[in-house]
């Protein structure tokens, strides 16, 4: 009798340890995904996240990322984890916090002028540099140089003119499709939302 109780107790405790072990493992895995997203500072593919967890199971990894996303959404935090197209995930600052902390960023950031030029190039690409300068004014030369330096656009020579396009890095940065026509459709939707938000009277 005593032996059997002991047996039972032992069994239970081993179950508890197992459970505890599983829980810890899940927690560690959540933290591992968080660590990966934090250091990368760019969207990571499910593949990349699998390799961090040292697993081949995309389903398992996806479940863990979704749990982490949920956890972030439940907490009152300045950070968010977004799911982008093609099962890519990114950790970033919620947009509403940007104006409050922009000045603390030590990387050279782009000001509104170049960002407008970038938006125009993205929407009209492939677009001749001449056209961009016509529409955006002479300052666009400086913007184009800056955007090129940051790897957001690429310049191609075609006869005597320069043709501008966004890069894959650009698409990744904004979580857009790598396919140009699909990207343009996505952008148009973003701009439409933006103008609706901005000018409710229209």
């Amino acid at each position: 009798m005593e032996a059997s109780i002991l047996q039972e107790v032992k069994g239970t405790s081993s179950n508890i340890n197992e459970l505890k072990g599983n829980l810890e493992k899940t927690l560690d895995e959540l933290a591992l995904i968080e660590a990966a997203l934090y250091v990368a500072g760019r969207p990571l593919t499910l593949q990349e996240l699998c390799s961090v967890l040292k697993t081949r199971s995309k389903n398992k990894t996806k479940k863990i990322v979704k749990t982490l996303m949920q956890e972030y959404a439940n907490r009152n935090t300045a950070l968010e984890i977004l799911e982008l197209k093609d099962e890519r995930y990114v950790l970033q600052l919620k947009a509403e916090f940007t104006p409050h902390v922009r000045k603390l960023v030590k990387r050279p950031l782009l000001s509104t002028g170049p960002l407008k030029t970038l938006a125009y190039i993205a929407l009209r690409q492939p677009v001749p540099q001449k056209r961009v300068v016509e529409v955006r004014g002479h300052h666009a030369y400086g913007h184009i140089k800056l955007l090129k330096e940051m790897g957001l656009i690429a310049v191609e020579r075609k006869g005597r003119s320069f043709i501008l396009k966004t890069t894959d890095y650009f698409a990744d940065y904004f979580g857009l499709s790598h396919d140009i026509s699909a990207m343009k459709r996505e952008l148009k939707r973003i701009f439409e939302d933006f103008s609706k938000q901005d000018t409710p009277e229209l």
């Binding site: 509104t112 929407l123 940065y173 904004f174 952008l187």
Partner: protein, 232 residues
């Protein structure tokens, strides 16, 4: 990426026009906005810290040349083209980049790796001073032969304005035919050109009677020349 470009910034568009005068001679001066070029040139120089007085000198020379070309066209009474209409196209709002923290891969090891190179180049610098490559042409190539008259245009304008003010005793109207009485044809043309410059700087107004073809010059606050021919 920036370090791959060997040329100084001013040899790139749009400023390169100020430094490639073989091209300068072929352009239409009306297409060049000197004020914009010089302002952005100075801004960029300040921004990059590439303070190069020779470059500034050349930029100034070239600007003067462009100005001169514009003046010459004015002498030939060529009308400047109307300002280009800005192209109409949908202008999307700026695409704000999301803020993301990103760990960078540079460690103290990388810093030390390049330190070795830097110390070597510091040593070699002490031994031999590098002779900077001549990237700018000598000034004689830049400065074209300039008509002495054009160089003195400001002075001439001042002289004419003074004499006109004297004639009308401060403010009033004077006829062009009265002004050029006794002048040679060339002197009259030069006087007329000076009047155009003065009118352009809004120091006087010119108005021509369509029937008599007389030109009226209004000086000092009288704005009647802008009216619809209501000069008495």
């Amino acid at each position: 990426m920036a370090s791959a470009i060997k040329k100084p910034f001013y040899l790139r568009p749009p400023w390169n026009i100020l430094f490639e005068f073989h091209k300068l001679e072929r352009v239409t001066p009306w297409n060049i906005n000197i004020a914009f070029l010089l302002t952005t040139f100075l801004e960029e120089m300040e921004k990059t810290g590439e303070i190069d007085f020779r470059a500034s000198g050349v930029a100034l020379d070239s600007s003067a040349l462009i100005y001169l070309m514009k003046s010459k066209l004015l002498l030939q009474l060529e009308e400047p083209p109307p300002p280009p209409k800005p192209s109409q196209d949908f202008l999307p709002p700026p695409l704000f980049l999301p803020l993301r923290h990103e760990l960078t891969s540079t460690t103290i090891r990388h810093l030390l790796e390049v330190l070795d190179d830097v110390i070597k180049s510091e040593l070699s610098f002490k031994v031999q001073k590098t002779i900077p490559e001549q990237i700018l042409p000598p000034p004689s190539e830049v400065l074209p032969q300039v008509d002495y008259y054009l160089m003195e245009i400001e002075l001439q304008m001042e002289r004419l304005y003074k004499s006109l003010s004297g004639m009308v005793k401060g403010s009033g109207i004077i006829q062009f035919s009265t002004l050029i009485k006794g002048m040679t044809r060339l002197e009259a043309i030069r006087t007329f050109i000076l009047l155009l410059f003065l009118a352009q700087s809004e120091r006087l107004s010119l108005w021509q009677d369509e029937e008599t073809e007389e030109i009226y010059i209004t000086i000092g606050g009288l704005d009647t020349a802008r009216g619809e021919g209501d000069i008495q």
